[in-house]
Every structure is written in structure tokens, then in C-alpha cells.
Symmetry: C2
Subunit: 293 residues, 2 copies
Amino acid sequence: MADFNKIYRSYLERFNAHLEKFCDGLNKCTPSVLGDSLVYSLRLGGKRVRPVLMMAVADIIGTGADKVMDYALAIELIHTYSLIHDDLPDMDNDDFRRGKPSNHKVFGAGNAILAGDGLLNTAYSVLFDECFKGNEYVSAAKYICDCAGIHGMIAGQSADLLHEKDAEADEETLKFIYENKTSKLLMAAVVVPSILNGGKYYSELKELGKKLGYLFQLTDDILDVTGNFEKLGKSLGKDEEEGKLTGIKVYGLDNCKLRVDIIGDDCIKIIDGIEGDASFLYGFVSFIKTRLG
Amino acid sequence: MADFNKIYRSYLERFNAHLEKFCDGLNKCTPSVLGDSLVYSLRLGGKRVRPVLMMAVADIIGTGADKVMDYALAIELIHTYSLIHDDLPDMDNDDFRRGKPSNHKVFGAGNAILAGDGLLNTAYSVLFDECFKGNEYVSAAKYICDCAGIHGMIAGQSADLLHEKDAEADEETLKFIYENKTSKLLMAAVVVPSILNGGKYYSELKELGKKLGYLFQLTDDILDVTGNFEKLGKSLGKDEEEGKLTGIKVYGLDNCKLRVDIIGDDCIKIIDGIEGDASFLYGFVSFIKTRLG
């Protein structure tokens, strides 16, 4: 894992430099509260999983990370907007994000709604600029848009909200939520480099993104039970307290851990089929799994 | 005005048929509450000012209304999302919209936030499809996106929220809010047909859109004082009650009415410079002004 961590950090630093430059532009927004609220959440840090994964896959399959930098930026803007809206009192009502007060705790709910809207809109402004380069760039932009939309992430959030206090533990619903709320943006992260490179490994990467989403969500559910605030920077134990539909509720804790192993193995098999140096991707699967300690 | 009304109705019906077909697709969303909440607000009716204006301008300058139908759709989706988020308790807190309960009164605030997000995202999905047709189509899409974004409508909403209970009546701030919150989307409505037709009358139309926004906002502010609920379908008298920054507060009621006349005349002068049959646009200016009765 030493190599993986080094490469991860190198992608992360490269992406953060790109994002930081972008934040400097956002900071000039009028009124200043708008710029401040946009930049506050973008600068909360985090692992930048989607951008790093996109850059790494781009290098692995020969697209080249340079080509996807603005797609990586757009996907992080979309991810960040979704967290801001998700944390709102009318949604998940989370006061903390990455160990700091959530956007609405700092700027108020009204400004947080606008900050989310602003980041979503800005993501597409960035992507329209890419569209001038040709049709494969349009396809890649539209792929992100559809993964984020009403047949993707938003559908997952809607189902999540609907089944928030659902007494019945239903596996089919859980899978719908996992796949849409979490997998779809990860699918976009790994599929964009493929679309920009003639569809190379398209179906393999799509399937990998889907499985990585499940892996993330299952480990998240497990950490909500077994993790601690200091390490995760967000409120824990809330899922059970609120009777939320989670993997724990559907499968039980032990079976959840078993599923993490099985899905991890599925990912490895997919990665085995990708030629070239895919060692980063093996490391990435371990990286998600080892969050469990 | 008889002719104007007839032409308006004909554009309106054509647009509504296009929108209705689109709503049939949205209705198939999972979970159904998502589809229902999206379609509820789109079907609340309204005058479809931006789409109708876009189609009419497209015909007047020779772009042809057919070419802008999906841009008109996107702009209506964006306008509708902005109303849903604007009506939320954390924003303007309006219980009624077009004489019916606002989105959050029917579906709850959490679902209304997602409905707004969903409409915004869907607007861009529609626009990315247009981008495959060539670079002028990308330019037109990006123009809408930037008018709706953090240097456009969202900036206006943010400033509106910031000065909600501002004791100081400040003309500069009022103009910033008018121009961004209202003018920008109207500018997009009239400029898109120009971009799709080699930039024909670009600067004239941009200026016209800006002025029409002022005209709208000033008449809105006046109607909040002099109008009635039955005719407008939304809560009235709230601005003053809440000490909101409006044209009335900055200029006084009589001066507001005077300004409506002056800006109306400015619009006429711009329209005078457009060759061909621009009679619809003269009618449009009267149509906004006669809302005052």
C-alpha cells in the first residue's frame, strides 16, 4: 500500500491545485456571501475520491489525466453540492461534515440551498466549455449529467428520503439507493476517461464503478456503527437512531462485512481484465475496505 | 392587442404541447414521488413568458422557432426550479404559486429541494443533447447556463436573500438584484435565437432582455402593493410586511410607475431597430405594462 498511498497523494495534490485555482475565481462572486459559501464547502477537504479515481483511470487506460481535469473538477462540484443539500435540516439534518460545521450551520439554510444550486450550475458551466472540443467531449459531459440526475443520484436521494423511517427492511430498495445515490457518480468518474478514449473498457469500467459504489456504501453503513467521530469527521450512530434503511438493517453487521469481501473480490476480477499497470485500482479497493480498520 | 394575444396563445399552446410530452417522460421517474413533484410544478401553468419570448424572437430574426424548442424547454425547467427553491420556508417562504399550494406544501421541503435540483439537472441534460449539433449550439447552451448561474440568477437570489430585511433602501443593490434575478434569464431567452443565427441583433436583444427584466420586476413590485390574489395566484403585500428591498421602497409607488413608462419606451426604441415584423415585441412590452391594469 505504500506505493498506492504515494500515487494517491500525488493525484490528490494535483487535483487540489487545480481546484484551488478554480476557488480563487469563485471567491470573486458578488455578493461575497455567495462566493464564501461555495468555497467553504469545496475547501473542507476530503479525499477527493471521484477526481482521483478519474485521473488514475485516465492514466491507466491511456486517456491521460490531463484530458480529464475539468471533468474531475465538475464531478467534485456536483458531489459537493449534493453533500450541502443532503446535510440540510429538511434532508439528512447533519450539523457536521468533515469535522467542521456543515454549510447551513455557517451560512444558514437559505444560503446553503443557493450554494448547492450554484455548485451544480457551475459544474455544467465547466462542462459546456469542454463541449466545444468535439462530440466525445459532449458525450462525456452528458454521461456525468445523467449520472447526477433524476435517473441517477437525485433518484437515489429521493428514495433515501422516502425510506428514511421505513420499518420494512427491503433489499431491492436498498440496492436502488446504493446504486443511484453512490454508484452513479463513481461510474461517471471511471467511465468518462473511457468515453474520451474511444470507449476503451467501457462496460468493465461501468461495472467497476457500480461495485465500488456498493463497497463504499456498505463500508459507510458499517462505520456508522463501528467508527468514531474524530476519524470520520461526521456524526455517527444516526442511521440506527433514526431507523434508517441501511445495509446493517437489511443484512446485519456480520453479513455486511462478508458482502464487503465478496464485492471487493468482484472488483478485483474486473480489474484483472484491464491490461497495463492497474495496480492503483487494486490498491483503491483495499483502500476502501481498510477504512474498516 | 387582439393579434398579439392570438399569436401569444399560439406560441403558448405549441410550447405547452412540447412540455406536456416531456412531462410524460418525467412521470416515469422512480421513486414516483420524484416524478410527481417535478411534474406538479411544471404543470402549474403560468404564462411561459421565457419560452414564448424565445420562440417569437427566433421567428422574428429568422432563426425559426423549431430550432429553439429544446432551449425554450430548458429555460422553463430552470425558471421552474428557481421558483420551487425560492418558495421554500428557508428562502421566500411562499405557500402559494399560481393559485395552488407551492411544491413544498404538497411534497414537503426535502422533496421540493430535490425537485428543484432535478429540474435544474434535467435542463442541462436537454441542453447537452443539443450540443452534438455544433459549436453555436454549445455557445447557446452555455449562455443559458451562465445566465442562470453564480454570476446570474443565483447571484440575484443570493443578494435578494441578503437584503431581505435591509433597512437601507439602496438603488444600486436593487438594480443588481433585478438584473441578475430577473433580467438574466430573459436575456438568455432573447439571445439564444441570436446565437443560433450568427449573432444577429445580439447586442440589441441582450439590452432588450435586460430592460424587459426591469420592467417585469418593477410591475411585480407594484402589483405586490396594488394587485389581488385571485388575479395573480400568489401571496401579496408580503414585501412591505417583511421590509423587503423593492422598487417601491427605493423609488416610491408613483416613481415606480413613471419608471415603468420610461423603461417601456426604451424597449420600444430597441425594437424599432430590428428589421422585419417585430410587432409581437411591441405587444409584449404592452403586455407586461398592462398587467398593471
